[in-house]
Amino acid sequence: MNGFFDLPSDLQYSYLGLVALHLREGLLPVLAGLVLALPVAQLCVRFRWVYPPVLGVTTVLYSIPSLAFFVVLIDYVGQSETTVMIPLAIYSLVVLVPAIVDGVRSVPPETLAAAQAMGFGPVRRYLQVQLPIAVPAIIAGLRVATVSSLSLVSVGMLIGNQGALGNMLYAATTYHRPALAVNSVLTTAVLGILADAALVLVRRLLTPWMPTKGAAR
């Protein structure tokens, strides 16, 4: 009963159940953030003047404590997973928007000129040239956003058992079982490392065209 992975029943999940919940609460917001960031970033690339205000707004949003978000959101979506995930999605924008903008802007001007001269329309040029070339920069942004999101999920415990692995921290104090806190922290860290490694792998698979380090031209 006192095994490292045995959890008090009021957590309502087994250890693996909490891991799955944690991944869902941490990764879905990043995905939502990406879906939102792509068009916003494209607007910033297309209309340069949009970028500074967008950066300002995302930074201000990032500085709002999650607890403040929760207080407002509980009125609309209750003490639910969604309440935890909405702020996380918003936080991810501060990393993802600049990453995508920089990635898309890193496409060499002669490549864009060549695409235009070969008869690529704007949509085709975005989907077939700019976006694929921006993939390394986008994934670099996703790595930061993902790890940060996975560690932030834990604050969800503040609104009553919505913090997945973070709920174990609360249980640790309630039941005087410090091992639960250690477990929570270690598991969160391991998830972060695994998610990061998975993204590196995805990057390698998506970009066989990247020069590998040390390889000469």
């Binding site: 002669e110 060549a114 001269a117 070969m118 329309g121 070339i133 065209w209």
Partner: protein, 382 residues
């Protein structure tokens, strides 16, 4: 034919990039736009595929205004080669070349087969097909750029300083390759460069533009060298245009002397018989030139090749120009050039004086031809 009709490009800030430029670009020939930076040559090129829209004037393609067709249809019918190639770094070489056929709806397999064919045409090893651009040298990337522009077999090729970012040796290779491909395919090529030597080497017609986007002269390269329209063109051509013009005069009619050639193992009698000449050219057993010597310094039967004077760079009569012949004569301390056949065997020698006579003769012939052409032009104008 592409007809650029009194085209002006003025930017909102008032800068005039191109000023009332009119040009008739002949079919199946290379037309070079050359000039200093800021002369509007690239702007002019980009107006042909509508990457830049003119402020005034228009451009006709085979008699129809280029604005009559959808812009991307127009662009897909014109190959485009750019400095640094502008390849898609995320696609393989084969897929880069297949880009425009794919845009035009050619099935993938067929487009790739066509791309493989083009790799061969531009002198790329088939083993490079699955590589990515970063794995290729600058020269190879530029060849891919040319292959990509040719992939959909467009009648028109626009080339914007395509060879200026590679080293001189690679550049010469690419230029020769372009001329060879042009011989086979006969595209209508508009070629932009700031390098007058490149313009003269590649151009069937050369348009010299001056700063502010005005046309200074539009003429075949030989005419440009012999009769620059004004001080600007003359200055732009550089100090040695007289020498460079010799590239357009053939060496076939040079009178070669065969007398002063002796084999390295010649006997005393042979040497004595030829000692009237101030210098004798010594050849090896196959007849290839070894070097020059004064007749009385030659030892019969066993010539010391280390003692011979340099024979300069030999020329091939009929293939090389008077410029190459003169160069050979100037390089040799004896003032004589060596003519060789295709296998490098000496077929004769020629002195600077004889080359000088040939140059004068060629000049007067060219002047006569120009007069005749001028008369014909006047006739055409009516």
């Amino acid at each position: 034919m592409i007809r650029i009709d009194s085209v002006t490009k003025r930017y909102p800030d008032g800068t005039v990039a191109v000023d009332r430029l009119s040009l008739e670009v002949p079919d199946r020939a290379i037309t070079v736009l050359v000039g200093p930076s800021g002369c509007g040559k690239t702007t002019t090129l980009r107006m042909i595929n509508r990457m830049v829209e003119p402020t005034e004037g228009g451009i006709l393609l085979d008699g129809t205004d280029i604005r009559q067709q959808p812009v991307n249809t127009l662009r897909r019918s014109m190959g485009y080669v750019i400095q640094n190639a502008g390849l898609f770094q995320h696609r393989t070489i084969l897929d880069n070349i297949a880009t425009v056929p794919r845009l035009l709806g050619t099935p993938k397999k067929q487009a790739r087969a066509r791309a493989a064919e083009l790799m061969e045409r531009v002198g790329l090893d088939a083993a490079l097909a699955r590589r990515y651009p970063y794995q290729l040298s600058g020269g190879q990337q530029q060849r891919v750029g040319v292959a990509r522009a040719l992939a959909a077999d467009p009648p028109v090729l626009l080339m914007d300083e395509p060879f200026s970012a590679v080293d001189p040796v690679v550049r010469k290779g690419l230029q020769d390759e372009l001329l060879r491909i042009q011989d086979e395919l006969g595209k209508t090529i508009v070629f932009v460069t700031h390098d007058i030597d490149e313009a003269i080497k590649l151009g069937t017609m050369v348009a010299v533009l001056r700063t502010g986007g005005r046309l200074a002269q539009f003429a075949p390269p030989a005419e440009l060298l012999s009769a620059p329209a004004d001080a600007f063109v003359e200055d732009f051509l550089g100090a040695d245009r007289g020498i460079r013009r010799l590239s357009f005069f053939p060496s076939a009619e040079l009178e070669l002397e065969t007398e002063p050639i002796v084999a390295a193992d010649a006997d005393a009698e042979t040497i004595a018989a030829r000692s009237a000449a101030p210098y004798l050219l010594v050849t090896d057993a196959d007849g290839r030139p070894l070097g020059w010597s004064e007749p009385d310094r030659l030892t019969a039967g066993a010539v010391d090749t280390g003692q011979l004077l340099d024979h300069g760079r030999p020329f091939v009569p009929g293939t090389d120009s008077l410029r190459t012949a003169l160069d050979g004569a100037v390089l040799s301390p004896t003032g004589r050039a060596v003519a060789v056949d295709g296998e490098g065997r000496a077929v004769g020698v020629v002195s600077q004086q004889v080359i000088g006579d040939a140059i004068r003769a060629a000049h007067s012939r060219a002047a006569g031809a120009a007069d005749a052409a001028g008369a014909a032009d006047a006739e055409a104008v009516r």
